[in-house]
């Protein structure tokens, strides 16, 4: 076997008293992709940065061995580190919009790597930049090189970011969540590009929270939790026959078509059977809304019945969120109507509108910004109960009851949301939404900002509450697996229009529309026998 490009043994990284990485070891060989998977706080990103000597000034790094390209980097000076960054190791972060300098053209950013390491003569730099852009699949490189990150699409600027990382043909490429901010179809393209680099002999260290993304590329997987590798091995083995309970939990927590009807988290379900869908609670007819002449929503119709879940799935800019705001009566449509319980928003007085709002509540992707920063959990719930007509005397008891319903207890009552974890905040948001006893809850990307295991708990909670209370969900998400898992019926949206709709199993397993097929094809799957990257190439 060839010499590894990176070899790490017994790596420890600590910040003050916090030990972020506690003795991990791994190696990456040329042409191999090793993935480190973990949730937030697992130490995966710190590990990646340590390999570049960029863990931060406060970090204390200790390792049995830390070899890059055969060179021992322990005791490296800043100057020595600089000589290997960008030259022997390339580094790609997520979201090129913020990972590239917004005030400089992307061509300059790529040229910077070449210039710093004197990779080519100064005069040859512009030509080399164009070659690199072409190499990563950017069309019209001459024009693109002069453009700024905000002028490029998400996919193109991520390619430009990769071009700047591989400019000096480093033997190792570290990619830290390289596709996390991207739409699923673009994600697939970027994964293919990374796979190409690997085939060209570059070693790839992939850092991700998403096991499915990892499954597309990785030869070997390390699962990290709290700074320790809990499980590692060949990708197939880790994904199919996980040994460690944490890995098993993570895999079970991923919502997919197979997980439908099953629980995602390790909690037990209450013994309640779901009632069949009841009467229509939301009726949307031919909704249209444009902003500055651009149609955000165009001709969207659907109905939602009591106790059922209607998913709306689409990529960014598809009009999902505008639809939600129209349904909530926060925006007035240019055309069409929304009826809640047979009552249209249009033409209502402010007072009647307020009364109607009670029946349709909402939870957001970022619960924290939906809470008044000065309010404690008690005041947040108190306000919602007040709106729901709960008498003052019984509000406290009801608040505790609501918290219990969402799996929290009375101890959080006096806390401010800022002091709660992400999962707890979303639970409080759900409790608030439930307080006025609504018929419908609009869920706008409610789990997109959460770790997989927390996401699983919240999705399970939503399912349980529906069975218990018969509330209907309008569930908006970009994530096909999540939508498949929770929805009964689904709308697929693109550019403001409904491309396809119907029973979720039907639509998401045997789609009729070309766009839905395209979306589904781009979704990374755990099934490593036919990863998308290999399928496509």
């Amino acid at each position: 076997m060839t010499e590894p490009v990176v070899e790490v043994t017994d790596l420890h990284v600590s910040f003050g008293t916090l030990e972020a990485v506690r003795g991990i070891s791994f190696a990456v060989h040329p042409g191999e992709c090793v993935a480190i998977v973990g949730e937030s706080g697992s130490g995966k990103s710190v590990t990646a940065r340590t390999l570049l000597g960029l863990a931060g000034e406060e970090a204390r790094v200790r390792a049995g061995a830390l070899r890059v390209d055969g060179v021992d980097t322990s005791g490296f000076s800043e100057r020595q580190w600089r000589s290997i960054r960008g030259r022997r190791i390339g580094f790609v972060l997520q979201d090129a919009l913020v990972s590239l300098d917004s005030l400089r053209p992307v061509g300059k950013e790529i040229a910077e790597t070449l210039r710093l390491h004197r990779a080519v003569p100064r005069a040859a730099i512009p030509g080399r930049v164009l070659e690199l852009l072409e190499e990563v699949g950017v069309p019209e490189p001459e024009q693109r090189a002069r453009q700024y990150p905000h002028e490029l699409s998400g996919g193109l600027r991520q390619r430009a970011l990769i071009a700047s990382a591989i400019a000096c043909h480093p033997r190792l490429l570290i990619a830290d969540e390289p596709t996390t901010a991207l739409d699923v179809t673009v994600q697939a393209q970027i994964l293919r590009l990374l796979a190409e680099r690997r085939r060209g002999g570059t070693a790839l260290l992939l850092i991700s929270h998403d096991l499915a993304v990892v499954a597309e590329l990785a030869d070997r997987i390390l699962v990290m939790k709290d700074g320790v590798v809990v499980e590692s091995g060949p990708a197939d083995q880790v994904l199919r026959e996980p040994e460690h309970p944490y890995t098993r939990g993570l895999l079970a927590a991923i919502p997919t078509e197979e997980s439908k009807g099953a629980r995602l988290s390790a909690t037990t379900a209450p013994e309640v059977r779901r009632a069949p869908p009841g009467e229509v609670v939301i009726e949307a007819r031919d909704l249209a809304k444009s902003f500055k002449g651009r149609a955000a929503v165009d001709g969207v119709s659907f109905e939602l019945r009591a106790g059922e879940t209607l998913g709306i799935v689409g990529e960014s800019g598809s009009g999902k969120t505008t639809t939600a705001r129209l349904v909530l009566g926060l925006l007035a449509p240019d055309r069409g109507s929304v009826e809640i319980d047979g009552q249209p928003w249009a033409g209502l007085t402010a007072r009647r509108k307020r009364e109607l709002r009670r029946h349709i509540q909402v939870i957001y992707q970022d619960p924290l910004s939906s809470f008044d920063p000065r309010f404690s959990v008690r005041r947040i719930l108190d306000e919602a109960l007040d709106v729901g007509g709960e008498p003052r005397a019984t509000r406290r008891d009801r608040a505790v009851e609501l918290l219990e319903q969402v799996g929290l207890d009375a101890s959080v009552l006096e806390r401010r949301p800022l002091r709660l974890s992400g999962g707890q905040r979303q639970r409080v948001a759900i409790a608030r939404a439930l307080a006025p006893r609504p018929r419908v809850i609009v869920c706008d990307e409610p789990v997109s900002a959460l770790d997989v295991s927390i996401q699983a708990q919240v999705l399970d909670l939503l399912t349980d509450l529906q069975a218990e209370l018969g509330v209907a969900y309008l569930f908006i998400s970009h994530h096909l697996g999540v939508v498949h898992h929770v929805s009964d019926r689904v709308l697929v949206m693109k550019d403001g229009r409904v491309v396809e709709s119907g029973d979720v199993r039907q639509v998401l397993t045997a789609p009729a529309a070309g766009y839905t097929r395209e979306l589904l094809a781009a979704v990374p799957r755990l099934d490593t026998t036919a990863p998308l990257v290999r399928r496509a190439s």
């Binding site: 960029l54 960054r85 580094f91 300098d101 053209p105 910077e112 790597t113 390491h117 700024y148």
Partner: protein, 307 residues
């Protein structure tokens, strides 16, 4: 882009018109006969009185007076100072030179010093930041006129390094420039360091470092430009601040200039001169703001394509 500049010019015209109106209102709000107010404490002949009434159209109804005044200002006629026995435009014109010299030098010193300090202290060791923020605290707390008095007392009277009065030599400019530059430097340093520190947390900085760029390189080539945006915003405000501090500084160092002129006018109730200075500085403000808008376009490409 064109639209943005047109909006700016529209606002500018509005601001200037507003300043003229403020002046006109001031003239009429001042207790006493308008002619007496215009004359201030000087003594004039009945012929001059009649001339003033004719010039300002003071026997006409108020709206006509307003229109007359507006017309005069538009023609660049800022009126007559009866105490200085010359036109306000001439008085301001002759005093503008030394003031611009002082302000320009102070601004240059402040920008260079603030940029250097911010670059050196942003995200550095705790004691460096502590020291510099302590100095900045003193800098923003110390009144400019007292800083000027201190400089004068220590460096002119006690040590005798610099001349205490006058504006004929380069060395006489040193202390006034320092006095005017102190508050601007500290404000700019604080602002730029704060935005530098925010910028240095951005992912693109990590990307740049991962290419092998040095810390200093990242600061100079990437972060500084981002930190300049809020600093530029402050420029318009800085101009106003400087005009204010120059009143005291010119008086303390016995320098000629707009500040000295204004102070004499205020003490002597020479309203035409005060009004003239207000209008001229409003014009200056407007011009500076148009320049700032153009500067934004140079610094931030996102604005270029948005326009």
């Amino acid at each position: 882009m064109i639209r943005r500049i047109l909006t700016r010019i529209g606002t500018s015209v509005l601001v200037l018109w507003g300043a003229v109106t403020v002046s006109f209102t001031a003239l009429h709000l001042t207790p006493g006969n308008v002619v007496d107010v215009l004359i201030g404490s000087s003594i004039v002949t009945p012929e001059v009185r009649a001339q003033i009434i004719a010039d300002y159209g003071l026997d006409a109804p108020l709206p006509v007076q307003y229109a007359t005044y507006l017309g005069r200002v538009l023609r660049g006629d800022l009126g007559q100072s009866y105490q200085l026995h010359e036109s306000v435009a001439t008085a301001i014109g002759t005093q503008l030179g030394p003031s611009i010299q002082l302000a320009g030098a102070a601004l240059l010193v402040a920008v260079v010093a603030a940029t250097t300090l911010a670059l050196l202290t942003a995200r550095r060791k705790r004691w460096i930041r502590g020291l510099s923020s302590g100095l900045e605290l003193i800098g923003v707390s110390i009144p400019t006129f007292w800083a000027a008095i201190l400089l004068l007392t220590v460096f002119s009277f006690q040590l005798g390094w610099f001349p205490a009065v006058g504006d004929d030599s380069g060395s006489s400019l040193v202390l006034p420039v320092i006095a005017v530059a102190i508050p601007i430097t500290t404000m700019l340093t604080q602002l730029m360091r704060e935005s530098l520190e925010l910028t240095l947390e951005e992912p693109f900085v990590l990307t740049a470092r991962s290419r092998g760029m040095s810390d200093l390189g990242v600061r100079l080539r990437h972060a500084l430009r981002h930190a300049l945006v809020p600093a530029v915003t402050l420029l318009g405000w800085v101009i106003g601040l400087m005009v204010g501090s120059m009143v005291a500084v010119e008086q303390i160092f016995s320098r000629q200039g707009i500040g000295q002129l204004t102070l004499t006018a205020v003490s002597g109730k020479d309203l035409p001169v005060v009004m003239g200075v207000v209008l001229v500085t409003a014009l200056l403000y407007v011009v500076v703001n148009i320049l700032i808008d153009l500067l934004y376009l140079v610094i931030d490409p996102r604005l270029r394509s948005a326009a």
